[in-house]
């Protein structure tokens, strides 16, 4: 029997109060998430249980950390930050690869009452700058190999008081920087955890939109209630599981379900420093006896391409439950996983803003391959007409909307109240995705309702890419769109009109591609560039990005005068 038991019964009888009760939430000494991840597990007698199994990138070293070590190393980070003068509510950025310090510092930042701002370690200077500047981040915790990117932008970030390198060992710190070694020194047995309440800000995750710079979705400590129960019921995590979430905590999946949810349950989780590598991934499942696997459609489709033979070379019999997130999971992938692993991947849907899974396929519930599943118990979802914002009939395409009020819902876009307000209409939160709902209540993803590009499960804003492109000396005009891709759902495609004197050849193409990668990140880097003599424009002179996108998707665009306002 799964944790959720019957979805239909939970749909009728669940309210958030039950999750609070399971967590003994109302009697807890603090609502600080860090307490529930570390202290509470030790108090429950799980101090000696392994919290984290970590394998290095080379695959030749594995380290196991218990919940007691998580508590102590979290304390060490919290003490360090407090001694540094970090005040509650200040933003502390974690800019690291998936090393154990990332996880300990996350706990430490929350213990100190600061707001954790994890950023993907593949971000380069411009992407990093935009997010640190907007958040007025006061401290950044990083690694030797990444510190150079911070140094190159530090002069432009007056709020950034502290640059902390966590893996420098005994080496002398550069002027204006600090070194911290969590493993050195005496264990910090006691730390006075910041007395957060449910509405105290906890985590700030940046997400991309069609226009303007990325927006910081601010979450609060009370999110734990929803992250706990969704991890229990959707991911079906149990006491004896070895759980593996392949997401990087630079993105919301990596914190909600790569840190908070599973550790609130007292589960053992696996972290591989390494990114996607089929052989190493299968070897890890076999070696660490992974039971619950939470991954992304892009990875699953790449594993499909690798075929079934590689699977046969490994003993994957430990696997019990598979879940997917980040982009719609195509039916072929669900069917393939059932054939090859003997288990279907269960698709789940949610966003940076929602903080937790909101629509999903549940263990025990019939899967309709290709469907997103049904709303989480106690959540109200609907598909709304794009003009009237009223629910549409079954089978009609509309906007996915959720009735606000669940604990993990974001509380604001950082310093951007207008955009935050625009996400709510008629008492609904509008997700920005289009879908249909069928007669049985299953949701079916159709596409984004904006120009945001979903590549390999990462959302990338076209504005950010176009701005970077325009800084290249050869680029006169540019437009970035999502081009459909069989593996990544979409890849970034850039349309470019060159300035006179530049050749539209592969050399220029490569130069522009690498230019964007160095400025933003590999995920924002165009995977394809098409040179154009001139760009299609509206009468007011605006580039018609949607027309270019329609060309890629084969969508009928009709009367282009309707694009005047794009």
């Amino acid at each position: 029997m799964s944790n959720i038991g019957s979805y239909d019964e939970r749909r009728n009888d669940f309210d958030w109060g039950q999750a609070r009760e399971e967590l003994a939430y109302d009697d807890a000494p603090t609502k600080n998430i860090a307490y529930f991840l570390a202290e509470r597990n030790c108090e429950r007698g799980l101090g000696d249980k392994v919290a984290l199994i970590w394998e290095n990138a080379a695959g030749d070293a594995t380290v196991r950390f218990t919940f007691e070590q998580l508590r102590l190393y979290g304390n060490a980070y919290a003490r360090f930050l407090r001694d540094l003068g970090i005040e509650p509510g200040e933003r502390v950025c974690i800019f690291m690869d998936k090393i154990p310090d990332l996880y300990f510092s996350f706990v430490g930042i929350l213990k100190a009452g600061a707001i954790a701002q994890p950023l993907f370690s593949a971000f380069r200077e411009d992407s990093l700058f935009t997010r640190l500047e907007n958040a007025e981040t006061t401290a950044i915790l990083t690694m030797k190999k990444l510190a150079g990117r911070v140094r190159r932008i530090r002069d432009k970030l007056p709020a950034l008081k502290h640059v902390v390198v966590v893996d420098a060992g005994d080496a002398e710190a550069r002027e204006g920087e600090t070194h911290f070694d969590v493993y050195a020194g005496e264990p910090v047995e006691e730390f006075d955890i910041y007395p957060a309440d449910e509405e105290t800000p906890s985590v700030l995750h940046y997400t991309s939109g069609t226009t303007g710079a990325p927006k910081g979705a601010l979450h609060v400590h009370g999110s734990l209630i929803a992250q706990y129960i969704t991890a229990k019921w959707v991911l079906d995590i149990r006491d004896d599981d070895v759980y593996w979430c392949t997401a990087d905590p630079g993105w919301v999946t990596g914190t909600s379900y790569g840190i908070i949810g599973p550790w609130a349950l007292g589960a053992t989780q696996l972290v591989l420093e390494l990114g996607f590598m089929p052989e190493r991934w299968y070897a890890a499942i076999e070696k660490y006896r992974v039971t619950v696997w939470y991954s992304a459609p892009t990875a699953i489709r790449l594993l499909m391409k690798e075929g079934a033979d590689i699977v046969k070379r490994h003993d994957l019999s430990s696997l019990r439950h598979l879940v997917s997130v980040g982009e719609p999971l195509n039916p072929e992938a669900v069917i393939w996983s059932e054939e090859v692993y003997g288990l279907p991947f269960h698709d789940s849907f949610w966003q940076t803003e929602t903080g937790c899974i909101v629509i999903s396929n549940y263990p025990g519930m019939k899967i309709k391959p290709g469907s997103m599943g049904k709303p989480f118990p106690a959540m109200e979802a609907a598909v709304l007409d794009a003009k009237t914002f009223e629910p549409v009939k079954a089978g009609t395409v509309g906007l996915i909307a959720l009735r606000p009020g669940w604990p993990a819902m974001f509380r604001q876009y950082w310093r951007n109240p207008e955009v935050y307000k625009s996400k709510f209409v008629n008492g609904w939160y509008i997700c920005g995705d289009r879908a249909t709902v069928d007669d049985d209540g299953y949701y079916w993803f159709v596409g984004r309702d904006d120009d945001v590009i979903n590549t390999g499960g990462h959302l990338v804003g076209p504005f950010e890419i176009e701005s970077a492109l325009l800084e290249h000396p050869a680029v006169a005009e540019s437009a970035a769109v999502g081009k459909p891709d069989p593996v990544n759902l979409e890849v970034v495609k850039a349309f470019i009109a060159l300035k006179p004197g530049y050749e539209a050849d592969d050399k220029t193409r490569l130069d522009i591609i690498n230019f964007v990668r160095r400025k933003l990140s590999p995920i924002a880097m165009p995977q394809e560039i098409e040179f154009m003599a001139s760009m299609p424009k509206t009468r007011s002179g605006k580039i018609m990005r949607r027309l270019l996108k329609a060309r890629e998707t084969g969508e009928e665009i009709g009367d282009t005068s309707t694009l005047e306002d794009d």
């Binding site: 593949a122 190999k145 150079g148 990117r149 990114g275 996607f276 591609i513």
Partner: protein, 84 residues
Amino acid sequence: MADELKDKIREYVVDEYVEEGEEIEVKDDTPLISGGLVDSFSMVSLKLFLETEYKIKIPDEKATAETFDTVNAIAALVREYADA
């Protein structure tokens, strides 16, 4: 000739992926993708570099994390398509 090819690939990888001040030695068998130096999204630019530099065409299905994982593997791939 073989060494020139590897040197050229190494030079590109170091220029594009090794950060200023970073002490990473890229040897012929240094794992680039599985070692975390080059990300899988960047394979597109690496492939385009090889195709432009050596006037070859590498099929998309050949551009995998394994075939691009070391200077040795990349050089072997270039040779395979240069000879084709």
